[in-house]
Amino acid sequence: MDVKVIAVGNSFYGDDGVGAAVLDAIRESDSLPGIELIDIHTDALALLDHLEPGRAHIIVDAAQMGLEPGDVVAFRPDEVKLRIRQDNLSVHGFGLPEAFAMARQIGRMPEKVLIVGVEPARIVIDTGLSDVVAAAVPRVVSIIQAEVDPDGG
């Protein structure tokens, strides 16, 4: 299946860098040749440049889901309530919920979007993932592989 994998997050903020780490793992293992890998870092608004109606998208992000650190959950945007918390004082407050809301309003929201959230353990200014989140990276890659190639070919 034609899938775009999009990482969101800041790899200089501990486990917020899990998306980038997943992209690195895919590149190193060469497990998904030819698949489009995009890292939008912290610019969630850039998602609007990359969402293409008609194509499938997998978005990998650290997510506060109230689960155990390192837990991985894949969900569709309509299965959850993503809290909009635009801070109104700066454009820095734009996050995924705001980007999805805007994409829907201007007709750019693709039907197929899967979010793979990883519950973070450690959000501090530092490079590198915590052990539990690093251990979750292969599980995220497996979920992406299963999505790209449901038959396990």
């Binding site: 903020y13 997510a63 801070d87 004082l89 454009v91 820095h92 734009f94 805007m102 309003q105 200014i125």
Partner: protein
């Protein structure tokens, strides 16, 4: 007349940054009017210590998603001065092109997504998407092209990687630059003119408020100074960037974890309005015509007009980007390697105009080419004291208005500065629907 007033706007509740507007008036006496910062991005210095000169710019560019380019360029300039690395004219031109892209992107987003909702009396940009979809789509188109300037020149838009100490690891191709030029002329310029139309219709909503202010920005002899120049104060004129400590005077205040700054007065302002006041004579005609239509005059001391100054500046960035591409192509693109042979290990300062104002990085390197000491002074930190001073003058002037109106004016004031206090973590908050 209302003599007692208490306002507390708790806006920024993100993990990494927190800022509240706090106003308190009792029996007609203003006790407090300030922006309280509980946390601010000032961790650069500790992270930089011990890093090699190859790493400094990469680290600082990753601190903030939107301000990354400005940090990167400023960091490179500080490192190059400290290590005695000369850069070519081509490198300077390519960096100026990057700065134009970043300024365009930031200024446009600020005008459309932050300021316009205020002017239209809606709480956020989302109602605008429904009522004025073509305007929002235009804003996104401009943002994308501005982003693409970064993609073409630096390899990646948000966290550029090809700019390194001494130059670039990859030079864009003639075809790529010509493509950008065409899109700037065909799309960006008309979109800019349409932006001026939109803003002209809204400019009447800008509060009429004036406070005598010291403005500080770069100023050069040749161009509208963004990449380099002297530090220039509207009070006392030009000094070299080596005087930056005296031109910032960072000091600790009790209500903010970010330090405040002052020079000749209790506060000063940096950003597009400061650049306009110091350098409007260097802007292109298209920008000057936009300024006239939008009511922006030289020596403007209304901080709300910062948004208009950003819009005016965007026209210059678009057209000067075209001029830079022309010069690069006339000179002929040279596939030159970055100059990374240090001729000394000392201290260097980088001063650059980033969208929110003048940004300083200062590094001292040891003999092994590792950072022994680093200091970064960010624009928002420099503006905080000025925001407080504006609030202290504004509140008594509008005290007879409703609390909601006063609150809105205070919020708009803070937004006019587009403060960068929450720029690092973008965690997703999720509630599963049962």
């Amino acid at each position: 007349m209302s003599t007692n007033l208490e306002i507390k706007v708790e806006h920024l509740t993100r993990v990494e940054g927190h800022g509240d507007i706090v106003v308190n008036m009792r029996d007609g006496v203003l006790e407090k009017a300030q922006l309280e910062i509980v946390e601010a991005p000032r961790y650069f210095e500790a992270m930089l210590k011990g890093r090699s000169f190859h790493e400094a710019a990469i680290i600082t560019s990753r601190i903030c998603g939107i301000c990354s380019l400005g940090h990167q360029i400023t960091s490179l300039k500080a490192t190059e001065q400290a290590l005695g690395l000369e850069v070519s004219e081509q490198t300077v031109l390519l960096r100026k092109l990057l700065i134009h892209g970043a300024a365009l992107q930031s200024n446009i987003l600020h005008a459309y997504f932050l300021a316009a909702p205020d002017f239209l009396g809606v709480g956020s940009v989302f109602p605008l998407v429904g009522s004025h979809p073509e305007v929002v789509v235009r804003a996104l188109r401009m943002k994308r092209l501005a982003n693409d300037i970064g993609d073409v020149v630096s390899g990646r838009a948000v966290h550029p990687i090809t700019p390194v100490p001494g130059g670039f690891t990859r030079i864009p191709t003639e075809k790529e630059l010509l493509g950008l030029k065409q899109r700037l002329l065909d799309d960006m310029v008309p979109d800019f003119l349409a932006t001026v139309d939109t803003m002209e219709a809204l400019a009447g909503m800008i509060p009429d408020f004036t406070r005598e202010t010291e403005f500080i920005s770069l100023r050069g002899d040749d161009d509208y100074a963004l990449y380099d120049g002297d530090i220039c104060s509207t009070d006392t004129g030009r000094v070299p960037d080596s005087d930056y400590m005296a031109m910032t005077n960072e000091h600790v205040v009790s209500h903010s974890t970010s330090k405040h700054c002052k020079v000749n007065r209790s506060s000063y302002m940096v950003g597009a309005l400061a650049r306009w006041n110091n350098n409007h004579d260097k802007l292109c005609d298209v920008s000057l015509q936009a300024a006239e239509r939008l009511g922006l005059k030289p020596n403007c001391h209304n901080p709300y007009m910062n948004t208009i100054a950003q819009v005016v500046e965007a026209g210059h960035c678009a057209l000067d980007a075209v001029a830079i591409i022309d010069t690069l192509l006339e000179n002929g693109l040279k596939d030159e390697a970055p100059n990374q042979e240090p001729t000394k290990f000392g201290t260097g300062i980088g001063a650059t105009e980033v969208p929110r104002g003048i940004l300083y990085h200062e590094y001292t390197y040891d003999r092994k080419g590792r950072i022994a000491k680093a200091n970064c002074v960010i624009p928002t930190g420099q503006n905080l004291a000025n925001i407080d001073d504006d609030m202290k003058k504004l509140v008594p002037e509008v005290i007879n208005e409703s609390k909601a109106d006063i609150t809105l004016k205070l919020e708009m004031l803070v937004r006019a500065y587009d403060p960068c206090i929450s720029c690092s973590v973008h965690l997703l908050d999720v509630d599963f629907i049962e």
